[in-house]
């Protein structure tokens, strides 16, 4: 673990010691992270410690800042003009908010899957090797091997192995999203960020994505934004509840949904608002 944080981090219930967030190596650790769109604050003093190789869900009503927080972790907010970030965010022992950070290198370590599947309008194979070529992997057989491994890991291989040269846009919505996951893991990131990856999919496709996430959990640290509270209970180990840009509560998922400490959390997870 890095140097002790300036103020206590939200910690898990003491009774579940072996997997409690504070005892596992944190993959992402933020301290007093604040983000402003112009003058408007979108995140206020977020201090979280996201453990390695677990699934952490970010929940909260629309506009609470959960996607914004997710996009801090691979600096995608850089694309938006007039965004200002203060505080610290450590990934792999490095404060990724530093000016000197190689954002390109960071994004190779921290992959992202978006709400709306966004395969490139090219062949399935071209989608898969896009990131590999950026890494300088040009050897065809090496590419083929990684493509197969990644597609298998994304539970898509059997469906597409005979049509790798076909346009990715011919796939169904769920397949496209699994292709995007496969494309993201092809470059072997450590962390996978998912921004409501199943919100545009039907229940069966959603189920497959959820199974996939539970599967990927062994190898990747996953942070997922979701609107769907059942989904959060099904797939996540920890849950952070955000409200108006603040982390109201961060704890083991079971605890958040059964014995939340905060009244606001309880109101939200029981459907009283949001």
């Amino acid at each position: 673990m890095d140097a002790p944080p300036a103020r206590p981090l939200p910690t898990a219930g003491v009774e579940e010691t072996e997997a409690s967030p504070s005892l596992v190596t944190p993959a992402i650790q933020t301290e007093d992270l604040c983000l402003f769109y112009g003058e408007t604050p979108a995140l206020r003093n977020v201090s979280l410690s996201i453990p390695e190789r677990q699934v952490t869900a970010l929940i909260g009503p629309s506009g609470c800042g959960k996607s914004t927080l997710l996009r801090c972790f691979n600096r995608m907010n850089d694309l938006i003009p007039a965004v200002r970030v203060t505080g610290r965010c450590r990934i792999g022992g490095q404060d990724i908010l530093d000016d000197g950070v190689d954002v390109i290198e960071l994004r190779k370590r921290v992959g992202m899957v978006f709400q709306r599947s966004n395969p490139f309008p090219m062949s399935i194979r071209a989608n898969m090797v896009y990131g590999l070529r950026l890494q300088g992997i040009r050897n065809r057989s090496e590419q083929d091997q990684i493509v197969e491994e990644s597609l298998r890991a994304a539970a898509l291989w059997d469906e597409v192995k005979d049509r790798l040269e076909r346009n990715a846009l011919e796939l169904s919505g769920g397949q496209q999203q699994r292709l995007c996951i496969a494309r993201a893991i092809a470059i072997r990131p450590r962390i996978l960020l998912m921004d409501e990856p199943a919100s545009a999919l039907d229940p069966i496709a959603t189920m497959r994505i959820e199974e996939l996430i539970l599967d990927l959990r062994r190898d990747y640290t996953i942070v997922i934004v979701t609107h769907n509270m059942q989904q959060a209970t099904r797939i996540s180990d920890q849950t952070a509840f955000l409200y108006l840009g603040e982390v109201v509560e961060f704890d083991r998922t079971a605890r958040i949904f059964t014995h939340p400490r905060e009244q606001r959390t309880e109101d939200y997870v029981t459907g009283r608002f949001g």
């Binding site: 995608m76 071209a126 346009n167 995007c180």
Partner: protein
């Protein structure tokens, strides 16, 4: 009901006008139109049906349009990419560039002719001549190069606007996907954005070619010749041009009645050339779209 009547009327008026124009050009031009007419260089009097020919004009017009395309496309596309992918839309500098582009689009074409003469021929050409120290003017006189460049400046806004339009139509999600995989902005533009925008960029090229092929005013002082004995062989040569030749035939002929069929035939050739340049570009674009659909 009224709408249908008005639409029908408008269609009718337009088709009648177009039909009348084409009929008059065709009926007037076909008698003088022959393989010899389009494939030889006029050696004697080009106002006379027997010796009139327009090969040099066809070559001249084609060359100036192609050379213009070579200059205007990269410039226009790079400008559009800068404006839409890199420039801060709120900065005054970007606003200046944008208003400069719309101003270029609004300038009358004869002004481009004078600009070309003043800037390219006299300033740039003579300046370069003076620097290289040649005795006789080499670049400091009207030529194919300066005429094409003048046209390129004139058509720049067309290419920029069409390219920007097509860049805007690319879903932002594709750019995000590419960046999130660890590509640089340049790699994203080069490998994802530009290939997707190519059909739209070609549309800009088609519009520019269509606009430039029929223009005479910009080349009047910058490269078009009343008569040259040879086909243009170098960029510094002057050239004969179809549009300018139409003007010459219509105003300089010693015998108007005798020249009329040649005039019509030349107009026919100009229409045909403009049409085929456009058709070529459209074909290229549709092939590209097909390739993109089939993916690779």
């Amino acid at each position: 009901m009224l709408g249908i009547v008005l639409t029908g009327l408008a269609t009718l008026v337009l088709l009648t006008l177009l039909g009348a124009l084409l009929t008059s050009v065709l009926s007037g031009g076909i008698p003088a139109f022959s393989w010899r007419f389009v494939s030889t260089i006029p050696r004697k009097d080009f106002f006379d049906v027997e010796s009139a020919a327009i090969l040099p004009m066809i070559v001249g017009t084609t060359l100036r349009v192609l050379i213009m395309t070579v200059f205007v496309m990269p410039f226009g596309v790079v400008t559009a990419v800068y404006l839409s992918e890199y420039a801060d839309p709120a900065s005054p500098f970007t606003r200046w560039i944008r208003s400069a582009i719309s101003n270029i689009a609004g300038v009358p074409s004869i002004v481009f002719g004078l600009f070309g003469l003043g800037f390219f021929v006299n300033f740039l050409g003579r300046g370069l001549d003076a620097v290289s120290g040649v005795g006789t003017p080499e670049l400091g006189r009207p030529s194919l190069l300066w005429a094409s460049l003048t046209l390129a400046v004139m058509t720049l806004p067309v290419v920029i606007v069409a390219t920007e339009e097509s860049l805007r139509s690319i879903p932002p999600g594709l750019r995000e996907a590419s960046l999130a995989l660890g590509s640089t902005k340049l790699q994203t533009v080069w490998r994802i954005v530009l290939p997707q925008a190519l059909p739209g960029i070609l549309t800009g090229g088609i519009l520019a070619v269509g606009r430039a092929a029929g223009e005479v005013a910009p080349i009047l002082f910058t490269g078009a010749a009343y008569y040259t004995a040879e086909l243009p062989g170098r960029l510094t040569d002057q050239f004969m041009d179809l549009g300018y030749h139409v003007y010459v035939l219509a105003t300089q002929s010693p015998n108007v009645d005798q020249t009329a069929p040649i005039l019509y035939a030349t107009v026919l050739a100009l229409l045909f050339l403009t049409l085929s340049l456009n058709a070529g570009a459209i074909l290229l674009r549709s092939r590209l779209r097909r390739n993109q659909r089939d993916a690779a």
